[in-house]
Amino acid sequence: MVFSSLIFLFMFLPVTLALYYITPRKFRNLTLFIVDLIFYSWGEPMLVLLMLVSVLLNYFAAILIGVTRKQGKHGVETKKNRIIPKIIFIVAIILNLGLLGFFKYAGFIGETLNFVMPFLNIPILQVSLPIGISFYTFQTMSYTIDVYRNTVKVQKNIITFGTYVSLFPQLIAGPIVRYSDVAEQLMNRRENLQQFTDGVKLFLIGLAKKVLVANEMGNLWDSIRESGASSGALGAWVGIIAYTFQIYFDFSGYSDMAIGLGKMFGFDFMKNFDYPYISKSITEFWRRWHISLGTWFREYVYIPLGGNRKGLGRQIINMSVVWFLTGLWHGASWTFILWGVYFGFLLALEKTFLLKLLKKAPAFITHLYSLILIVFGWVLFYFEDMGEMGVFLSRMFGSDGFMMTGDVTYKVLSYVPILVMAALVSTPLFATIYHKIKSKPVLLVIDNVGCVLSLGLCTASLISSSYNPFLYFKF
């Protein structure tokens, strides 16, 4: 079930809110866990079992790690009783990655092996990708790793742990919430009206981002792509810029909705996007884009590998590993790996010398530098077929002429107002103005008119069109 659907907004959400708030506080996690499972199984009736396997696996692994660690005399850890937890930990991680690997990467690995060594002739598995598996696997792993490192307490209540893993607001497309960040909230949280109201506002902002901007940008991008050569270089650039907006508004809109919904149930999740398109370097871009994923990789891959503490050479290697994996996480295909490596390479360049130069350059140069590289990144990200990517890239550089011809011109011009709006909303402009307003009545009017508009227009758009695919379902 996606948030921007009638069934979610006008069936699932009201029923869930009502059930949640009539449940006595003690049992609210149980209510949440049950609705989470319904939410997940709505789209994937069978694969909900896989998620439950993941829950059980990590739940018991953590308990075993906790129990075996305490076996030493007087609770003191000895060398001997460090081995058993370590083995359990390694097995758990292998099983986690194994599940993810099987369901997400089996086909890809098989195809790659067949390509490199055709004589192997491995049969290719056709497994459908379980929704959100990349997100919940990373969440459960954060828990098991932290338990092993002894930075969080073992969660003995399986309902509480299950609620954490399957929490519907962030189950499908993040943010990736680390267990340590919400452990306290899972057990003791006090929902309140102020938080709920903040949640409503954030949810409606996210809904509008998704329905009113991302979907329309996707529409523009699709028709430009389908118009082929008649778009010319200009049209191709407008198209990829539309996609640049689509992916940002789609993903950050979803994150806003997730965080907003979390607040309605008393949770505070971390911010996932911070105006990434105003970045002045690629390094800054990745501090502002999908923050929870970057944090996860830094915490559980980059720093354990030694981070930047073992000299520049080692740091570059560590970055390569992280960016290879970041690319791979986004999808089981070499083009995603290429995309990850592309950013890894740019970041390494910036780290070694470019960042120093950029600091001296005027702001508009650094903005332009970052934006162009980001937009190119999205070309790599979008096309799964290298041939199509090549055709599109050469079109961007004028292989089909510069100007748009035919109906693409109409399409692009009629989308200019929305493109301008998207560009403005990608910057903190409106937020800054909003926070400068001191008059309470004016704020009240803005808030409430905004809510009504978002609700009305999004509902209208959802009813009017069945065009509603969520981009981040793929990952």
Binding site: F196, P417, N448, S464
Partner: protein, 378 residues
């Protein structure tokens, strides 16, 4: 103090009121089974059992069901259309709002079928023993190009008609109406809220056809025109711009024609009915009043006018034909009108059985580009 707090949390109250009200109304309100504006049956409540739940069919169909039966659905669809228009995307839903309240369907796209159909017609005409006349009716947006909004898709009707003519030129007697239609576009040859031509548009075509088909057309002044108000056509339903004003529909009758000279026999499979007028007035009760002409789409219609000169014409047509046949009927005692979307027997056989004098193929450019049934001409 309490009031102040209420306002502070107002977004919460608005949000909850909205989602809960619509949920309750969705559940409680009686459901319509047919939408007149969309001319289609609305989704039924999806079948619920273990199998449909596990394969996801129930879930997928439930969303369609909710969308089809959403309370105030028309209001929301209209809101979305208004928003698209205001934010610069006129024509996003396939209908352009032009000046003077004109609604224009998106241009017809050149398709493979279009020239393939030309080929079928040529083949048929080459084999035919009687003359085959033909015309293609351009779209409203092409003819009324001066009323199109500044930003619009390009209408290629003239290029398409020329290409079509090139294929069929040696085999059929083709009448191109575009030039005359463009010149007379100020006379409202097309409805504003519908894709069809008006009686005036059909009459102009009738006059042009007379030049090739060789009959003498009845003058416009011989007709009494009855005006019917509040006609909301297909473009209105599709465009969802509810503020647009309705059309008027004109019924033209030749005042010199005796009352009982006309018989219209309709055959649809085994169903048959008869009428003594070209106009089926009970259709005027509906929102879409165009079917008042010869009762809309039927497989086989025979129109006899005992007051007309001897002659038998077969008309192969789409719905544009319903409005012009009453005019042609002034000059042909008998007209057999078939619609290849429903009539599946060879037209050559029909022409032979009926011993017809001529065949007229009359299609709108849009249907010619999309109709896959022209192969039934044979």
């Amino acid at each position: 103090m309490k009031r102040k707090k209420f306002f502070l949390y107002l977004p919460t109250w608005i949000f909850c009121a909205f989602i809960f009200t619509f949920m309750i109304r969705l559940i409680v309100l009686p459901k319509e089974s047919f939408s007149e504006k969309e001319k289609r049956s609305l989704a039924e409540f999806p079948e619920l059992n273990t199998e449909t739940l596990l394969n996801g069919n129930f879930q997928n169909n439930l969303d369609t069901y909710l969308s089809d039966h959403f309370p105030a659905r028309e209001f929301f669809v209209g809101l979305n259309a208004d928003y698209n228009l205001l934010s610069g995307r006129n024509g996003e839903n396939g209908i352009f709002l032009g000046s003077d309240g004109y609604l224009f369907p998106s241009p017809t796209q050149q398709t493979e079928d279009f020239l393939k159909n030309a080929g079928f017609i040529k083949e048929y005409a080459d084999e035919s023993d009687i003359p085959v006349y033909m015309t293609l009716i351009p779209s409203s947006g092409f003819i009324n190009n001066d009323k199109l909004p500044v930003l619009h898709k390009e209408y290629h009707d003239q290029d398409m008609i020329n290409e079509f003519k090139n294929v069929v030129a040696d085999s059929v007697i083709f009448t191109d109406v575009t030039e005359t239609f463009r010149q007379k576009s100020a006379d409202q040859l097309y409805y504003k809220t519908d894709h069809h031509w008006t009686s005036k548009g059909a009459y102009e075509c009738y006059r042009l056809l007379s030049e090739t088909m060789g009959y003498s057309p009845v003058t416009e002044s011989s007709f009494d025109k009855v005006t019917v108000k509040d006609f909301y056509g297909t473009s209105y339903s599709k465009g969802a711009l509810w503020f647009v004003t309705p059309d008027e529909i004109e019924l033209w009758s030749n005042r010199e024609q005796p009352q009982d000279s006309v018989t219209v026999e309709i055959k649809d499979g085994s169903d048959a009915k008869q009428n003594n007028s070209y106009f089926f007035r009970d259709q005027l009760e509906n929102m879409d009043k165009y079917p008042v002409f010869l009762d809309g789409n039927h497989s086989f219609v025979r129109v006899t006018n005992t007051n007309a000169p001897e002659g038998k014409l077969i008309v192969v047509k789409d719905s544009y034909g319903h409005c012009i046949v009453p005019f042609l009927s002034q000059n042909y005692r008998e007209i057999v009108m078939v619609d290849l979307r429903y009539y599946k027997k060879p037209v050559s056989q029909l022409a032979e059985e009926e011993a017809a004098d001529a065949v007229l193929i009359l299609y709108s450019i849009d249907n010619m580009a999309t109709d896959p049934n022209l192969s039934f001409l044979e």
